[in-house]
């Protein structure tokens, strides 16, 4: 099986779409009210640090994904164990995302359609995308990305008449605490979620600069979220934002110019579903790789199909209701994600630094000694 490669530009675009993903459904935290933009900036600053760690890991061992790396750094048993935990995380978040999408579609329009049908046929799309492979996903995203960006910016610009920036005042009325709490939430979801890309890192072009990929993606994705948050607040105020189940979608409902250009929320819904679809695909891709590593199967593509459908089917049982879903995403997930987004990457990073230093020493001492498992990453 030949190695799949996505180039630097595709990687950036994929990551930006990934970041845009679920923030556009459930929105960003609702504690900080009109100060959400401060929370976003703080979260971006925090995310740039942890992303530097992710990028460093990829940079140290280019062409390898997390699972090969775990094997190499921690040995068979411990490596498998960490991989198992991490794969569980991928599975769980994938479940959540599929549920988010199906719940969103069900609430906004298809209220009489059984949820399982929506979920399973989202699964069909994801499974098909995964069978086509990461290259196709990369190309697909780079076609759709400009469309998403242009539509979003157009939506924001045409509504400029309806903005009332007075709604952003007063700044820091409730103090810094709710802002920090929201910043933590945004940091965990979606910025630090890019930890998933460690699972795909094997497909990055070797000469691409991971630091650049992460930083540019963070910048564009962060600015996009900033635009979305400010738009929501300036259009309908913090009160409505915290009241609504899906704030960014509702904003698009309000936007109109005169009588002829209105009811454009469906465009927005399409954007949301597209972005979330990309996100689920990335998660499922990593999940399939993790499973194929755990089960020692080379062909992750064939394995991915039943995994995706299993996830989609199981997502029906994930939450009792949508309210719990949104609360879980906003309140529980940030804490739940700490071990996967911060602790495991930090461990891997430290181990990787030591290993890289040792490798350098041994190669300089003994040219003929090859580091073990360097070929493992070749199969993407």
């Amino acid at each position: 099986m030949q190695k799949e490669i996505i180039n630097q530009k595709q990687a950036i675009v994929l990551m930006v779409t990934f970041i845009m993903g679920s923030g556009t459904i459930v929105g960003t935290g609702d504690k900080s009210g009109q100060d959400i933009w401060i929370a976003l900036l703080i979260a971006m600053a925090g995310a740039s640090i942890i992303m530097a760690v992710y990028a460093r890991i990829i940079k140290l061992f280019p062409g390898m994904d997390l699972f090969d790396l775990l094997d190499k750094l921690f040995g068979r048993i411990l490596g498998k164990f960490i991989a198992l935990i991490f794969t569980w995380y991928l599975f769980h978040v994938g479940l959540n995302l599929i549920r988010n999408t199906s719940e969103f579609i069900r609430i906004i329009s298809l209220d009489a359609t059984p949820q399982c049908v929506i979920a399973l046929f989202t699964g069909v799309l994801i499974a098909y995308a995964l069978r086509c492979g990461i290259e196709v996903i990369g190309r697909w995203v780079s076609i759709f990305f400009p469309v998403i960006i242009v539509i979003s910016i157009t939506l924001s610009v045409i509504a400029v008449d309806m903005y009332d920036f007075d709604r952003l005042k007063p700044v820091l009325y409730e103090g810094l605490k709710p802002v920090l709490s929201d910043a933590f939430g945004i940091f965990a979801h979606p910025f630090a979620e890019t930890v998933v890309f460690l699972g795909i890192a094997g497909c990055f072009q070797k000469q691409s600069n991971p630091h650049k990929i992460f930083n540019i993606a963070l910048l564009i994705g962060g600015l996009y979220m900033l635009m979305l948050a400010v738009r929501t607040i300036a259009l309908m105020g913090p009160v409505n934002k915290s009241l609504q189940m899906f704030p960014p979608y509702i904003t698009a409902r309000i936007i109109k110019i005169g009588d002829f250009f209105q009811r454009i929320e469906l465009i927005n819904a399409v954007i949301i579903v597209t972005a979330v679809f990309t996100k689920v695909t990335v998660y499922m891709f990593s999940f399939a790789k993790g499973m194929s590593y755990l089960l020692k199967i080379d062909d992750y593509r064939t394995l991915s199909t039943p995994l995706v459908f299993f996830t989609a089917a199981y997502s029906i049982f994930l939450f009792d209701n949508a309210l719990f879903m949104v609360k879980w995403a906003l309140n529980v997930f940030p804490y739940y994600a700490i071990p996967f987004e911060i602790i495991i990457p930090l461990l891997v990073w430290i181990a990787a630094e030591i290993k890289a230093r040792n490798d350098k020493k041994t190669t300089s001492q003994n040219q003929s000694t090859n580091s073990s498992g360097s070929n493992a990453g070749m199969q993407c």
């Binding site: 049908v117 199967i297 995994l307 459908f309 529980v332 804490y335």
Partner: protein
Amino acid sequence: MMFISTIIISAALILIDLVPLYKQQEWKIFFIYSFFLLFIVVLGLLADFNVEIPSPSKPTKDLVSLIFGLKLE
């Protein structure tokens, strides 16, 4: 409804994937694949009979509130 959907999907997957795998005699992936397919159909059946299946969201919520001492609704 879910049961029928899962049956349709499984039938399609058997035709697309399982038959070739059987012919190529890739037994390991064949069995894992069929195991998951069976699981999907069982899930579909359970969903139609309104059986509750343990979901990871409640335990994770409890775990998080235990570890961090948070009061989450």
